[in-house]
């Protein structure tokens, strides 16, 4: 476990509600509570894994930290400085320090720009380099992510998925960020290529001292890359621990269910393994159940669960969970 220096990124009560507009006058009749009051911190040089099912609000968290969405409530601190209210040029000045790698390598690259101009765009936008210097820097970046610098003149569609994702990484690294949000950077990739990208990310982290928020729904991969893992369910973090602690001793029933659903590649173990099959679907974030949000599907729920929201408790050192029943 890493020591506790001042966190690089810290969020307090981070909340995002997307309004639902209905009726003749498009009045706000409710909201999608995509993210509902999160508190966590990310330390320098660590990787925080964020896992959860589709729609639970992972991307929204990442985007709020990067201020691509304005939070409905709460605050975001970066290097101790409150950036929640930054606007305009001040925000633009902050951009180089925090970057993002996107889920879909096809969709996150402009199909009508050359790789060179895609990677060079942040440099030009921030006046970091121009002309020959820019070209040189772009080539160095491509080289750094393992792409032939001669590819700078090609277009994204001429590359394979893994190569495209490297282009995305190169773009994110162009301005020497300290913090990178990886929003499911491998979800769209084949198993063999996932490995390439994850290896690259790890290598870069070591070499450049990066800090990652690694969003994924693939628990195996998160286990592989993350130092600490936060598990989200329906807009809330239900459990947060170092990855060893979390995977070896999950405290929240949801985490347990998630872990049990992960297939191993050992037929012997699979044959004997007991899966926890959750009933039903994830409720709509527009109308989350009262009390504990997981109560509707929880195999061990008691009456209290659907009445009172569990508080955020630290059960072991560095292992927090939101469950009435967790011991």
């Amino acid at each position: 476990m890493p020591p506790e220096p001042t966190p690089l990124v810290a969020v307090e009560n981070l909340t995002k509600h997307f309004p639902i507009l209905r009726g003749v006058f498009r009045r706000e009749v409710g909201s999608v509570r995509a993210v509902d009051g999160l508190d966590f911190a990310i330390h320098p040089r660590e990787t925080l894994g964020l896992v959860g099912e589709s729609g639970c609000g992972k991307s929204t968290v990442g985007r709020m930290i990067l201020r691509l969405y304005a939070p409905t409530a709460g605050r975001v601190r970066f290097r101790g400085e409150d950036i929640t209210a930054l606007q305009g040029e001040a925000l633009r000045q902050l951009r180089p320090h925090m970057q993002m790698i996107f889920q879909d390598p096809q969709d996150s690259l402009n199909p009508r720009m050359t790789v060179g101009s895609i990677v060079g765009e942040p440099l030009r936008e921030h006046g970091a380099a121009a002309g020959a210097a820019l070209r040189e820097r772009v080539e160095a970046l491509l080289d750094a992510v393992g792409l032939d610098p001669a590819f700078a003149n090609r277009y994204p569609h001429e590359f394979s998925g893994g190569q495209r994702q490297r282009i995305g990484v190169a773009r994110a690294l162009a301005l020497n960020p300290e913090f990178v949000v990886c929003d499911e950077p491998i979800a769209a990739l084949d198993v063999s290529i996932q490995a390439q990208v994850v290896n690259l990310l790890k290598e870069l982290q070591e070499r450049l001292g990066l800090t990652y928020l690694f969003i994924s729904h693939d628990l195996r991969m998160v286990r592989h890359v993350a130092d600490r893992v936060a598990v989200m369910y329906l807009g809330k973090i239900v459990e947060l621990a170092t990855s060893d602690a979390l995977y070896e001793e999950p405290l929240h029933p949801y985490t347990r269910a998630l872990l049990s659903a992960v297939p191993t590649h050992d037929p012997e173990r699979e044959a004997t393994r007991k899966r926890i099959i959750l009933e039903g679907d994830v409720p709509s974030p527009a109308a989350p159940p009262p009390g504990c949000r997981f109560s509707t599907r929880c195999p061990v729920a008691v009456a209290e669960c659907s009445e009172r929201a569990p508080e955020w408790r630290t059960l072991r050192p560095g292992h927090q969970v939101a469950c009435h029943l967790a011991e």
């Binding site: 209905r22 009726g23 003749v24 006058f25 498009r26």
Partner: protein
């Protein structure tokens, strides 16, 4: 959905008011005057009186308000009276929008023109649709076949040759050379028996075909694109995997989906039916609403132009709405959305 319709209706009102104002104001700017056609010997005071008797000579905003009242209150009342044979209030006193050229109420002129417009333009639209949809389906289903290539070519020709030319050509061939069909439409012809029905068919044949060619050309292109879009969808593969016949796959699974955009497109085109097909009407002397509009324009019959234009605008807005509603009805994703 209902909310959506209501919302659209609410938006339609300011849109229409804006349009009515623009139309009224623009046409009011036109340097025309009902007394322009009067003999030069008439003294100026008499001219002024005539202008006043036709509702001019007042301030712009009052005229606009009056026109709106006539359009939205007086004329609908007159129509109701006419339809049900009742009398509501002082119907004689009601101010009516009058044409400068004929001095008769504009609405009467329009109603007189409706039958032939609907017969000829409406029918051609219908025939155009009936031709276009099968052609579109077959073209898409057999993409790049000779049928598709030919269909594409013919529809592009239909789209690219001006109707005044195809119309004239039809007259030269079918009326002058072959003497099969009349070149002039008889608006007073009444269908009473089989032979008069035949006459009606003959006199409609040319204008309807000329217009239908044009309409079919456009709709078949859309239909083809829509079917093509759907043929590559996964659900088509699912349907086939169930062992369904191609016919059913095409006509139940694909057609339903493809018709959604096409039906709305067709609905959007309906105002043009009422608007008439100006050139075709002129060539065959169908003398429908389109012809009424162009005569009014050329004769600078401003009240008639104003009313007709606004009527078209109302129709366009209404059918826009209908197209949206149709979309919702046809597409459950929107119906229950």
């Amino acid at each position: 959905m209902t909310h959506y319709i209501i919302r659209r209706l609410l938006f339609a009102v300011p849109t229409l008011i804006a349009i009515s104002f623009i139309l009224f104001a623009l046409l009011d700017l036109a340097p025309n005057d009902p007394t322009g056609q009067l003999p030069l010997t008439i003294p100026a005071e008499a001219r002024e009186q005539i202008r006043e008797s036709l509702g001019l000579g007042e301030a712009f905003h009052i005229r606009y308000a009056k026109w709106m009242e006539q359009f939205f209150v007086n004329e609908p009342l007159n129509l109701i009276e006419r339809a049900f044979g009742v009398e509501i209030g002082a119907s004689e006193e009601r101010l009516r929008v009058r044409s400068w050229a004929t001095r008769s109420p504009v609405v009467d002129l329009i109603i007189e023109r409706l039958p032939q417009t609907l017969w000829v333009v409406g029918l051609s639209y219908l025939i155009g649709i009936l031709i276009a949809i099968p052609i579109g389906i077959v073209s898409a289903y057999r993409q790049y076949s000779w049928f598709d290539q030919l269909g594409t070519f013919v529809s592009m020709i239909g789209f690219s040759v001006p109707t005044f030319f195809t119309g004239l050509l039809a007259i030269i061939v079918f009326s002058v050379t072959l003497q099969w069909l009349p070149s002039i439409y008889d608006t007073t012809h009444r269908v009473t028996d089989l032979s008069s029905f035949w006459v009606q068919i003959k006199q409609m044949a040319m204008p309807v075909m000329v217009l239908a060619l044009f309409n079919a050309a456009q709709i078949s292109r859309f239909m083809r694109a829509a079917v093509l879009d759907n043929l590559t969808q996964d659900y088509v593969r699912t349907a086939r995997a169930k062992g369904l016949r191609e016919r059913i796959v095409l006509f139940i699974h694909v057609l339903r989906n493809s018709l959604i955009p096409v039906v709305t497109l067709i609905a959007l085109g309906i105002p043009t039916v009422f608007g008439g097909a100006i050139i075709t009407e002129k060539i065959f002397r169908v003398n429908g609403i389109g012809e009424l509009l162009i005569t009014a324009i050329q004769g600078a019959d401003i009240p008639l132009v104003q009313t007709l234009s606004f009527l078209f605008a109302v129709l366009i807005v209404i059918f826009n709405l209908i197209a949206d509603v149709l979309y919702g009805i046809l597409d459950p994703r929107i119906r229950y959305g």
